[in-house]
Structures are given as C-alpha cells and as structure tokens.
C-alpha cells in the first residue's frame, strides 16, 4: 500500500512544471523590502544625503562600516550642511544585511537595495567604497562636489515635519 502511495507521488511530480529557476537567465522576483547591497542615496539636485555622521557604523553589529567625515564648503559641496562623508566603506564580507544602518541613518541616506550578486575573488574586493555604493546623479541634478550659492544649504538635516 505504502509503495503505491510513494510511486503515485513520484509520478505526480514527474508531470509537474519544474520549480528550478534558470539563474542567471531567469531572475526571481524580490520582496519589496528585500535587504540586499547598500545604496547611498542622493537628493534630487544631486547632493548626497549622507552627512558622514557615522551612526550607521555605530549601529552596525558586525563593524562592517567605516566612515570618515570632512567639512563641506560652498565651493565644494557634497551634502547639505557642514559635514559629509569623505570616506565611506562597507566590508561586504562582514556585513550581515541586518539593516540596522538603515534604521540609524538620520537622513535616509543608506538604503539596502535589491542587488544581491556579491561574489569576489579577492578579499579586498569585498570592501565597497563610496564610489561603488552611491547612486548615480539623478536627472536634472549635478554631480558632487558642487559649487553652490553661499548660505543656501546650511542645514545637514533638512527641515522635518512637526512631530505628531
């Protein structure tokens, strides 16, 4: 009896469509909130959202993030306010993709995206630098550093809504 039931199952599956995806030709759809490789975001005008506050590094349980900050000037402006990230590196071998960095970010600059194809042949390649992480300049925006009018971008954290 059991033998028959076992064969029946086998035959049933023989006739079904295969569940295997033909990666990389076929790519599986992602959940909206999938936590993949980090992206550093920009504002519409091209300025970087990251202000180099290092809170992501502080929140990181794997100590994977390294930030060094420097001061903006109106001659060479990377981000609004006084501070920007001069160095921003994530060691993808260390990262556990927990998303704490995203939670800690006061400007929503770091976002875990959908990119998941992270393989390296060299340990050093696992260190993603700012150039690799940052989003391309949006249409109508300018690349950083920008030369801007003095006194316009004085605040690192753009005006927020009233607390509710």
């Amino acid at each position: 009896m059991n033998v028959i039931r076992g064969f029946a199952t086998t035959f049933k599956h023989l006739l079904e469509e295969p569940v295997t995806y033909q990666y990389p030709e076929q790519i599986r759809p992602f959940a909206e909130r999938y936590k993949g490789r980090h992206e550093l975001k920009r504002y519409d005008n091209g300025l970087e959202k990251c202000i180099g506050c290092s809170l992501c590094a502080a929140a990181c349980p794997a100590d994977a993030i390294w930030v060094e900050a420097a001061e903006n000037t109106d001659e060479a402006r990377y981000s609004p306010g006084e501070r920007y990230a001069k160095t921003y590196e994530i060691n993808m071998l260390r990262c556990i993709f927990c998303g704490y960095c995203e939670d800690a970010c006061p400007t929503e600059a770091i976002v875990l995206g959908h990119e998941h194809r992270l393989s390296f042949t060299n340990r050093k390649d696992a260190i993603f630098t700012k150039d690799m992480l940052i989003d391309p300049v949006p249409e109508g925006g300018q690349a950083t550093p920008q030369k801007v009018e003095p006194g316009v971008f004085t605040r690192a954290i753009p005006d927020m809504e009233d607390p509710k």
Binding site: Y43, T154, R155, P158, E161, K164
Partner: protein, 433 residues
C-alpha cells in the same frame, strides 16, 4: 488733600531750587543731619514706609541691614521706571526733583554712604540732564559734596543713564548695569546690603524714587504723622498711575487703602463711552490680571488687601480694559514685551518667553489648537518660581491669569482655527531655510 510727593501740583515751579527751599525744602535734611544716623533709620522704620518699587519691603529695615563697620557704602536710586503703565517716578523727577535728592541724601546720611547713584532709564536722558542741574544747585547750597553742612561727612550724587532695559529695574541687575556690566541679575545672597553684594561689592541701599521722595516728609513731620495716612500695614500715600480705558488717565496720589472703585470712577472718571470695565492690570504687565468684578472694585488698594484677591499692588500702575478688549491680545502683547525684555540669563525665562510668544502668535493668527492653550498654561507654570529674579514670574503671570480668568477669550481664537498640519515633503530639495 495736599500732595506729599506730587507737590508740583500744589506749588507751581517747585522744581526750582528757590521755590523748593521757600516751601521748607532741605529742612528735613538739615534736621536729619542734626540727628544720629541710627535715629534717622529708626524714624523711617517707625513710619512703616514700604518700598514703592513693587515689592513693598519696609524701607527702614532695609537701611538697617547696612553694616556700619564698612567704610564705603552707597545709595542707588532706582529711577529705571520701566514697568508697563508706570509713569510716577518721571513726574517726581520732572516736577519735584529736589525732594528726591533730599530724600536720597537723608538715606545716604542714615547709612553714612559715600555716594548716591541715581540710575535712570535710558529714555530719561532729558530728565537726567535736568536732574544734573538740580544736583548742581544742591551742591552750590552745600548739600552735596565735601563736608556737607559742616558735619565732616561727604557724599557725592551722580546720575547714570541705563541703556533701555526693563530688567535693570531689578536691583541687582541695576547694580551690574551701574558697574558697566551686562544688565543681568546677580545671585543672591550676598544681598546688595551685604559686603560683596552691592555696588562694586560694597554695601548698597537700592530704593525707588517714590520711596525716597517720601522720606523728607517723614523726617519733617515725624513717623507718627505719616502712619496716620493710609492703613496700618500700608502707611502713607501712593501714586497710582492709571491708564487704559479711563476718562482721565494720569497719576493720582492718594492715601493707601483707597478702593479701586473710588480711584477709577471718582478720580479717573470711569470708563469712557459707557462701556463696562472688563479687566484690570493692577501692577503693569507683571502683575496678575484681574476681572473687574464688584468684589475687586471694592478692594482697598493696599499691599495686604490686593494679595487677598490674588493680585499684587506692585508699583500700582493700573491699566484698565473695557469690554471690547480681547484678553488674548493682551496676553500676547505683554508676552512680547517680556520676551523682548528678558535678560537671557536664566533658561526658563529666556526660552519660555520665546516659546510662549511663538505659540501666542499662532493663537492670534488662528492657527492653534485647544491643546495649545494647555501648552502655554503649562509652560508658563514651569517658568514660575525657578528663575533668579522675579521676571520669570512676571512673564508667566499674564499667561496664567489670563487663561485662568478669561479662558473664553482664548477659546474664541482656537475655535476659529482652521487646523491643518503643516506638512513638507522631506524628499524635496534640501535647502536650508
């Protein structure tokens, strides 16, 4: 009655030295000089004269605090009349200046001071200019300077102009300002009367103009006579500065104990246009606002009775408001004043006045919610009793008492409100302001 302080109304040109002397001027000072300093203090103590600047502290007691062992002592005359609706000192200074000088000199003799500083608010520059001339006249007559009247005691009288700060009417801020420092109140103790607490660290008596102007009369006529005027705890006359919605605003020198009703209706002529009286600010902007009820109007104007109805006599600058006045507007207006005048030293006052002003602006603009009324009430209460000087309390009073007594006025503003949370997309270009 004849005036004690506003004698300029009885005797024209009493500001002139000759006229003043003809009318018994400087006799009190001469009499005081013939007495022991201690006896002068005792006389003033006995008269029950209380400080007219607002706090009502017994003047003679204050003088008695000065340690006689110290070689250098000062008298500072507070003529920084900056309370809203107060204009009594100005009239004394303009029409009866010699009486002030004489009073200050008697005080100086009583504590054996080496100098008198008359601190006038910055806007009184013309008054100060005239006062300098009056002091010069007194000097020529031998009442100011070296070896006064052959007693071997020397005392100088100086005038000093402030720079227009309300807070410099507070005694320790006044002393700071006199020393050329920022006009901010000092930590007490040490009190001005103590070594280390007064002007340049020396013991100092700080008295209001009106207080000192009473002194010559007391010395001439005796403490017993003085006590006959007014009530038991509030002796003498008081100048009431009446302004606002009355037919005849102005200074009224009346014995203490006169009721508000008598002052406002009999002397000041009542509310013009037959309107009803809505509210009274009995002590300028700083005192608690009170509704003009019958009970209030029948209250005698004394230190003790005014506190019974939850207000203060203060400097007795009575601002009257009729029924057309929006009390919320008053609160906003007075708060603006205190925000402007806060010295910025203590956190609750500096930040509180700014915050209150911002919320009141929104209330006045019809953009506030009911909770905002609770908010300012709470903020004002948090400012009370925690600041270095009384300005923190003063600034809280207009809010707390207007909300307590005239809540409906506030409700009208918020009921009109069209509440829409201001929202800004955070994704928009991150320009600063």
């Amino acid at each position: 009655m004849t005036h004690i302080l506003l004698r300029g109304r009885d005797i024209p040109d009493i500001w002139k030295y000759d006229v003043y002397v003809e009318n018994g001027g400087y006799e009190a000072f001469k009499k005081a000089l013939s007495l022991e300093p201690k006896a002068v203090i005792d006389e003033v103590k006995a008269s029950n004269l209380r400080g007219r600047g607002g706090a009502g502290f017994p003047t003679g007691v204050k003088w008695g605090f000065i340690p006689q062992s110290e070689p250098v002592k000062y008298v500072a005359v507070n003529a920084d009349e900056s309370e809203t609706g107060t204009f009594k000192d100005r009239e004394i200074l303009e029409t009866n200046p010699h009486q002030l000088i004489e009073g200050a000199l008697i005080c100086a003799w009583a504590i054996q001071a080496t100098a008198v500083y008359i601190y006038l608010r910055g806007e009184f520059w013309d008054v100060a200019h005239e006062l300098d001339k009056r002091i010069e006249e007194a000097r020529r007559a031998g009442f100011v300077g070296q070896n006064i009247q052959g007693t071997g005691w020397s005392c100088e009288v100086y005038t000093h102009l402030g720079a227009g700060a309300y807070i410099c009417g507070e005694e320790s801020a006044l002393l700071n300002s006199l020393e050329g420092k920022l006009g901010q109140p000092r930590v007490r103790p040490p009190f001005p009367a103590q070594k280390g607490g007064g002007l340049y660290g020396e013991p100092t008596v700080v008295n209001n103009v009106e207080t000192l102007a009473n002194v010559p009369w007391i010395i001439t006529n005796g403490a017993a006579e003085y006590k006959k005027i007014g009530t038991e705890q509030s002796a003498g006359t008081k100048i009431f500065c009446v302004s606002g919605h009355v037919a005849k605003p102005g200074n009224y020198e009346l014995p203490m104990g006169v009721t508000l009703r008598e002052l406002l209706y009999e002397h000041a002529g009542g509310v013009p246009g037959g309107k009803a009286m809505k509210a009274i600010l009995p002590s300028g902007g700083s005192g608690p606002i009170i509704p003009a009820t019958d009970a209030v109007l029948d209250t005698p104007l004394t230190y003790e009775d005014m506190s019974k109805i939850g207000s203060i006599l203060g400097s007795a600058s009575i601002i009257v408001m009729d029924e057309t006045v929006d009390i919320t507007w008053v609160a906003a207006k007075v708060t603006k004043f205190f925000k402007h005048e806060s010295c910025g030293k203590c956190t609750p006052c500096r930040e509180g006045t700014y915050w209150l002003d911002k919320v009141l602006d929104r209330i006045m603009a019809g953009q506030a919610q009911v909770s905002d009324i609770e908010l300012i009430d709470n903020v004002a209460k948090n400012m009370q009793g925690v600041t270095l000087c009384a300005l923190g309390d003063f600034a809280a009073n207009p809010i707390i008492y207007t909300i307590k007594n005239f809540r409906d006025d506030f409700m009208q503003h918020v009921q009109k409100a069209d509440i829409k949370p201001a929202s800004k997309a955070r994704q928009a270009a991150p320009a600063g302001d």
